[in-house]
Symmetry: C2
Subunit: 120 residues, 2 copies
């Protein structure tokens, strides 16, 4: 089931508007940002943005809380980390040194973190 969750997460990121939203929320950190502000910053119609935010939330990459009539969206740090680890799991059969120098800092570093279960 892990793999299917990862596909859902990656699908949700594989779209220009959603990737912009995601990166904006990663930048914003735990404080998050109201949907309206995101719409304004990225110039996306409110209804279209709402659709995309729902996709990201379904994928477990963002979470939301309601404050007054605003809905604050925030990255889901834990799940994002798990997804990253999933992508580079067992990299190079556990021989990180085989990776080229310009390789991902995370590549071949988190590979042994097998205790992490993809719960995205």
């Amino acid at each position: 089931m892990e793999l299917k969750m990862a596909v859902i997460a990656l699908s949700s990121l594989a779209q220009e508007s959603r990737l912009k939203v995601f990166r904006l929320l990663v930048k914003a950190g735990p404080e998050g940002m109201p949907a309206g502000t995101i719409a304004e910053k990225l110039k996306i119609p409110a209804n279209t943005l709402s659709f995309h935010l729902k996709e990201l939330a379904n994928a477990g990459l963002v979470k939301s809380r309601k404050v007054g009539r605003s809905v604050i969206y925030e990255m889901h740090a834990g799940n994002i980390g798990v997804l990253m680890s999933f992508l580079t799991e067992d990299c190079c059969q556990g021989h990180p040194d085989l990776c080229l120098p310009q390789a991902a800092p995370s590549c071949c570093e988190t590979s042994t973190k097998k205790e992490q279960i993809l719960s995205v």
Copy 2:
């Protein structure tokens, strides 16, 4: 242009068969694996696999070399690393401590690596 490249890379990963292929090749490391072996291991028809490998190659996530009548596919470590960094760039406005403990090991660590340009 960076963002569009990332979307292409993520789209290529956002499919069950391709994600399996990708993870298999990450595991395999620089040695890589012939298309036929991948098809056999993952039980994917040769023509379907060929289509998926092409997608991953177009996205810059794998590369190939011909050896006799086999084509050896291998992960493209550098581009994979750049993609990972792109996803967590400027995480928490440069305050990694704001990330929850279970957050990605890569999250909030690679954020300052702005010298890395997405060339995926």
